[in-house]
Subunit: 306 residues, 5 copies
Amino acid sequence: MADIREILSWYGSDNPGTLTNLSRMLQHGRLGGSGKMVILPVDQGFEHGPARSFAPNPPAYDPHYHYKLAIKSGCNAYAAPLGFLEAGAREFAGDVPLILKVNDHDVLYDEADPNQALTGSVSDALRLGCVGIGFTIYPGSAQRLDMYSQIHTYAEEAKRYGLVVVIWSYPRGSGLSRDGETGIDVTAYAAHLAAQLGAHIIKVKLPSSHVEQDAARKVYEDCHIPVATLTERVRHVVQCCFNGRRVVIFSGGPAVPDDQVFDEIRAIRDGGGFGSIIGRNSFQRPEPESLQFLDTIMKIYAGEQS
Amino acid sequence: MADIREILSWYGSDNPGTLTNLSRMLQHGRLGGSGKMVILPVDQGFEHGPARSFAPNPPAYDPHYHYKLAIKSGCNAYAAPLGFLEAGAREFAGDVPLILKVNDHDVLYDEADPNQALTGSVSDALRLGCVGIGFTIYPGSAQRLDMYSQIHTYAEEAKRYGLVVVIWSYPRGSGLSRDGETGIDVTAYAAHLAAQLGAHIIKVKLPSSHVEQDAARKVYEDCHIPVATLTERVRHVVQCCFNGRRVVIFSGGPAVPDDQVFDEIRAIRDGGGFGSIIGRNSFQRPEPESLQFLDTIMKIYAGEQS
Amino acid sequence: MADIREILSWYGSDNPGTLTNLSRMLQHGRLGGSGKMVILPVDQGFEHGPARSFAPNPPAYDPHYHYKLAIKSGCNAYAAPLGFLEAGAREFAGDVPLILKVNDHDVLYDEADPNQALTGSVSDALRLGCVGIGFTIYPGSAQRLDMYSQIHTYAEEAKRYGLVVVIWSYPRGSGLSRDGETGIDVTAYAAHLAAQLGAHIIKVKLPSSHVEQDAARKVYEDCHIPVATLTERVRHVVQCCFNGRRVVIFSGGPAVPDDQVFDEIRAIRDGGGFGSIIGRNSFQRPEPESLQFLDTIMKIYAGEQS
Amino acid sequence: MADIREILSWYGSDNPGTLTNLSRMLQHGRLGGSGKMVILPVDQGFEHGPARSFAPNPPAYDPHYHYKLAIKSGCNAYAAPLGFLEAGAREFAGDVPLILKVNDHDVLYDEADPNQALTGSVSDALRLGCVGIGFTIYPGSAQRLDMYSQIHTYAEEAKRYGLVVVIWSYPRGSGLSRDGETGIDVTAYAAHLAAQLGAHIIKVKLPSSHVEQDAARKVYEDCHIPVATLTERVRHVVQCCFNGRRVVIFSGGPAVPDDQVFDEIRAIRDGGGFGSIIGRNSFQRPEPESLQFLDTIMKIYAGEQS
Amino acid sequence: MADIREILSWYGSDNPGTLTNLSRMLQHGRLGGSGKMVILPVDQGFEHGPARSFAPNPPAYDPHYHYKLAIKSGCNAYAAPLGFLEAGAREFAGDVPLILKVNDHDVLYDEADPNQALTGSVSDALRLGCVGIGFTIYPGSAQRLDMYSQIHTYAEEAKRYGLVVVIWSYPRGSGLSRDGETGIDVTAYAAHLAAQLGAHIIKVKLPSSHVEQDAARKVYEDCHIPVATLTERVRHVVQCCFNGRRVVIFSGGPAVPDDQVFDEIRAIRDGGGFGSIIGRNSFQRPEPESLQFLDTIMKIYAGEQS
């Protein structure tokens, strides 16, 4: 398992300010110092609407709930849009590393080639005491080039001011089939794009064994790239991110049975992934259950549980 | 009923300048100090045309009329586009808190996916002595992401200069059915979006019990979210705005019988809403009747009348 | 008839620089001090081409011709695009108030939803010694929101530097029928939009009695708004511009018989309009006839002729 | 023939820096002091491709060739895109006035409504020692308003820094028929647009007697505008440029027999045109022939040859 | 063979900073001082995806691999997108001249008229210690004018700060047939465009003898431009780049048999080309083979091998 000092060494082009903030995340919480991370993201209110996000566990309507959950569970960081962060940044100042999601998307309009709105800035992140910014790109969308250009502009400014850049790379849009969005070739490609765009931390969905593009399929077959198991696929994605020189974490997607989640966590761990970003599976249940659930996940990552 | 000090405490990420202006609105007028607000908005001349707006009560063609109406009736604030505010800001300087509507839309062109023009600036608001800016977004429109990005830019600048940000969140556009524009799921979502975009005060229309989106309907049913009565729906919308940690007010829509309006005010009050923004029902009748009408509304909010 | 001091009092949000320039226009020329204005606009070369504009009176090809015509006839101001103003601003410096048209449109391409090009700036207006800028909007065009946003940006800068803002509000585009472009409801709405956008002086075409929009027709009928005569229609438009608190002037349109023009001037005067902006009817005839023609118009406005 | 001092007097709104550069062009070369100009433009490599432009005379592939040709032939100025100017500006510094073409278009994509790319800046022109910038507009294209707005921005900056503004006004696009592109009404209109946009020097193609627009045809007939001969048409175009108060020059178009070119030069001279801009006819033949050819043209302009 | 001092003399409009960086590239590595260059470009991860690029030689997933390959093989420079450069710029600081690719394109969305995202900046290039920037244009795409305008902006800034500008000119898009993308007329035109846009170094693909455009075919035939052999075509392209006054290098395209590559290198050398930019043929094989392969190429360029 990578030591924090080694992880920091991969980011030789960044200033000490950014390394300090990256170190803060890596040293914080239950997994602090392990080189693994669990991040609590709560942008579902914006992305899917408040009732779909919080009605299953009504205390979660309150922005303080998520701050407390991230703190109590010992997450490495808490990521949310502007409004949610503003609503507690003073009360919980210094208690948990914060990541400001600086772009967001809602589902009150349905488009074939989605984009995101720019809903936060580097200045916002700094005034709220965040350690970094989060930015979503949609490889596969006709709008993707605009998003790549935007994240470059954001990342350049963020790095100048010592912030960490986290890219949510979510393949989506008319360039891809539904299965293709989580296909192994597409996921690995999307993760690589985020790395090339300058991300310090890359977040992708767990990939399936589906291969979407013909030109890629030929290579996966000819080179016998092992992608049959989830562990292998995680390993491949990590390799595609500068051969492991970038922190790659995986998101949980919609709520699934806990055992399945735990199996996924083991696959991430065993494949050399650096952790998870777990939203709905965390906050859509009563807090005690959430804490229990996150504790199990962290134990798996920490190697305290197989 | 929330005490003003408590309301201000919800905005811990804002500077004292913004809190001062928010406090000015909350302390002004007939409802000053009660934690409830009634705002007079007069953007209908721009939005629907002058004759449709003012012919029913011709003195209302005069911009001074609305300043005086807001002052005499004891409204907490008066909101209008640039021209209307410029036409009286010197004469009535200091007499009523002002909100500059910084974007507007007209109906001389009919589009399926509306946007708004940027018709005012933070600098305008400051030079006119305003306490805040008002911005409309149209969730449901193909243009919505542009509006979300714009309000972010405006809000960031406004907060830097100590202004209050009020977002009119009006679902509209080809992403929604006509009924869907005021559906409870859509209204709650739209209010939540405004909160996430950094609004201090959120203005939405009173929601119907219609549920627009299939994915939302499942949750409303499964979680038994009570939305049968208007009071319940107001309570749900307030909950969706950071569990009550944001000021949500409701607009009156087209002229309806007074008794119906008063019933709606009671529902807002009983559901935990923070007040009303009432345009056409106020100024489209002779001034004495308006004052009487607004007085009744304020009595209901103040708890002086059931 | 409004006294100049009173007119200036309507612009309480403007700085003394702007009031000085507005006063210069109101005090200049044959109608100086009367509160009425006649402005000579010569943008037809750009808008319709040079031959269509100047061949009927070839000396008018010369930009100096129009400066001299405006000066000799005693117009309150001369308005033209950049090139025409640059071609005489030094020679006639100080002889007549100048308005720089900062956007323009040509007819070498025919579009359903017109826009304008930005062909001048506030800096241009200042370096040429202008008292103000002129800007055209096309309510009814799919491009209108862009124009509204642009004029706001221009107007904000112009006001900061003490210039007067004149808006040409010309309904046009696929949102309107041909008759609708000059319909009374549309004209009144267009004038109101200009006022809300911050214009000091509003220029519209003389309206017909046609009512374009159904929602408006209902109000015109229910409220018995008198629009049968041109005088009544002028009065209605003036009322729709902040109840007479904004200077509204009317344009002449294509060349028509002089008697008809004089009747229109009387209607403008009797309806409370503030004057005329007369291009083609002025310069498309020999200078002596123009001077005679404009003299008659000014006499009507001055009340020296019925 | 206009004296240089008189020509400069037409530009009373420009600063001495711009007049100095304009004077430099008018005083330079074989026609220096005559009030006439011949400019060598070499943007055909960009516009049509290098082989089509230079293969007929291979030494012309070398950017130094054109500098030398302009110098040896005694042209008033040499105009080219960024790359060509950069490739010799140091070697030939001070030997010939330079005009930087700041926008350009290629034909590797064929569009109905062309635009141009912005390929140079005012700063580029200044660092290369140019006397002015050249900008192409396409009246008749759906993209024309963008080009008008761009040239305004460029011209404003150029004038601030003492540069001359040359506008290539080339009607083109879906708003015009093929014949219409060089029709007399369209050419005259296009030249007038350039003048209104603030050009010091206007370049148009030699017009045909075709009249494109119905509204224009009526005027050309009713006013008996003489356009039967090329001389008359040149005179009309010059008249349409502020009655001769702007320098209008004409381009040669594709290679034609020399006698025809010389006849055209006589027509330009006799019609009051100020000169020519001659590219392909100059450099697409061996240098000695070019020099001979240009010498004849200059003799005609200088009145040394009928 | 051109001496370095002579090459630098072609760039007389550039500042000493840019000449210094150009000299650094020309003096670096195995071919240093010869006037020839071999550059290692590794943007295929972004352009085609990581598995297609690196699975054939898995150590190449690691960004350090490419730094080392460029250093060990003695390449003149190493070019890559932001992420790849950031991942080693500190470790290998000063060991090899770096070129930051500032725009990039991926294939997760397939478009008829491609564009590129802006993924790096001049500031990025400076903070990473690069000698220059690389920019791709797609002549033939409907988006090309935007790319031309962007590269101008980038190039102007890069030159101000002493960086070298390398343009990848890759014809592509609906304006061209598939064969046309590498046709000799199109390739020569594309190279010339890059030169006119201000490139110091121009990169094109090796052209075929296909002639795409009718207007060009006539000239190629009439002027008997020799393009039958690859050597002739290289010579023609170099001629089209300011008659040899710009450095033109050629890219290798997809992996082909080594002997074919070596023949191409000879053709480039014999045609007066300045070198190669070789990606996939270099890094998609085991390192020892790559070094052998590149050594042979450099020997051919150095004239040590026929």
